[in-house]
Amino acid sequence: MIGKSVRPRLARIARRILFYCVLILVLVVFIFPFLWMAFNSFKTHEKILEYPPAFVFAPTLHNFKNVLWQTPVVQHTGIQERPAASSPFVRYTWNSVLIAFGALGVGMVLGLPAAYGIARYGHRMLALGILICRMIPGISLLVPWFIVFRALGLLDTYTGLIIAHLVITVPLITWIMIGFFEEVPKELEEAARIDGCSRAGVFLRIALPLVRPGLVSAAILALIFTWNSFLFPLILAGVKTKTLPVVVYSFMTFDYLDLGGVYASSTLVTLPVIIMVLLVQRQFIRGLTIGGVKG
């Protein structure tokens, strides 16, 4: 009697436990490289090279100091220590921030009206064109850009890099915002029209304030995409305008000399992305599935 009622319950509990075990295993697999990245960035270069990998060690901030003040990457081969007065890494961070926000700002100006136009007036051809943008390999833009930018003196300038990244942000912002503008009740806009508001006025004063939540997530997505971008700055940026991913990559040149720098700079470049993801996790999926040229 008792056995009969207990057994299904036991089976259910066992299934629950099994489920959570699998879930934790899956999460550990997908998070492990991030943990390992953060973990190793607190090890000295020698400790990182140790085999078997060290799990217990005295954490040090040495790598972060090194990266931030670009003290010599290779002390032992006799390369002179640079004065710690200026921090190139901070300047590269500033480059990344400037280009990301520039591409975001201009992207909004171009993308928001376009999204509204598609949502309200049904310019399907433009919507289709934006989808096709995704299929274009980023490299096919780089050859012509490189030639034109060189002729116009736009190589290694903020303007040039912002223009390049608009190719990512404009389609992205447009595509995400179409959905949000479609959700704005038409009656509200019609009422404003009857009260004598122009079409542009309806867009600016009625529609835009109502899509603010969507605006925030589109903005954060655009920032992440530009922040992560590597191929465009690799070709179009120079000493002046290098962005963080290119700088992080350049640490690899010293791969076996300063792995600490590799791990610390990787951690530093990833940290803002993680923070932004936590802010917009839901819309992130929606944004990833659409719009924007990549690689």
């Binding site: 489920f19 959570y20 879930l23 999460l27 997908f30 490289p33 390992w36 190793n40 990182i48 090279l49 990998p53 171009l110 993308g111 009206p113 376009a114 136009g117 007036y121 064109g129 934006i130 943008c133 299929m135 390999p137 980023g138 490299i139 096919s140 833009l141 050859v143 012509p144 490189f146 060189r150 608009l166 190719v167 404009v170 447009t174 122009s198 079409r199 542009a200 992440i224 922040w227 992560n228 590597f230 191929l231 963080l244 991913p245 290119v246 992080v248 990559y249 690899m252 590799v262 990787s266 470049v269 990833t270 992305v273 993680i274 993801v277 996790q281 992130f284 999926i285 599935t289 690689g295």
Partner: protein, 311 residues
Amino acid sequence: MASRTAEIRERPKESAASAIGLSRWVDQHMSWFFILPAVLFLTAVLISPVVYTVGLSLFRWSGAAATPPAWVGLRNYADVFAGDPGFQNALFVTAYFTGVSVLIELTLGIGLAQLLNREFLGKGIARTLLILPVAGTPVALALVWRHMYNPSNGIFTWFVEVLRLPPQRWLADATTVIPSLILFDVWQWTPLIMLITLAGLVSLPPDIYEAAQIDGASPWQTFWQLTLPLVRPTIVAAAMLRFMDSVKTFDQIYVSTQGGPGIASQTLNLYVFDQAFQYLHFGYASALLVVLFFIILSGNVVLASFRRGQT
């Protein structure tokens, strides 16, 4: 004289009227003014480079300003298809990498979505954590994976030793470099497929499952005959998305192997990059890009046909 003053007097009124007319005209055609900036911009920065690339593919040019491009007609295309070993290798590598990784990602992603499509403690946290591989800076992730794969001190080398498996040289060996890159790609993108499929599963009406249960369908039957057909459009969309991006993968491969060892992991994208920016064969690279675009386009057409399906 009188008529002239009348004319002068008339003028301000007229211009005011035309100003109103203009603003009304603008308002009536506002729908075009909304999209005009974006259309102009995308034409200038996106469409015209593509047209330029197609044009340049008919020339031979080293990119030097002093020597203008030399017309070669379809020679570049002839070279591409008449047995350029670099192209054939890149085509094979791309097909291998993209084909296998997208297949694994779809299978695993759908499986995981099935697993997570229920209420459980910490669902929000799990979903957020699973976005991280997708959102993380690819260059940073590739550097970390590169070192995890290090044959002498990487953690994967240690895992393999602990599990008593035969030692691997991962990215350093021509036979294992692509499987290793696939593992990296699968790690990075399976969560995306899973999240997209999960969104599709959530939108399914629960009553059809009740009906299936009443009819005595096994979970296996329910999955194959009910769930899968219903979420097929979502899955096909996810597959198309992954296919497009996978063929174009650049950052991850460039950072972790640069196409090596030798050319064992040189995908089409990396081959084009080398041809253009390493050897300055801009004309030839342009022809390769046109071919690459058609590969992506036709792959998408094939995938899109699964959307309607044969059933």
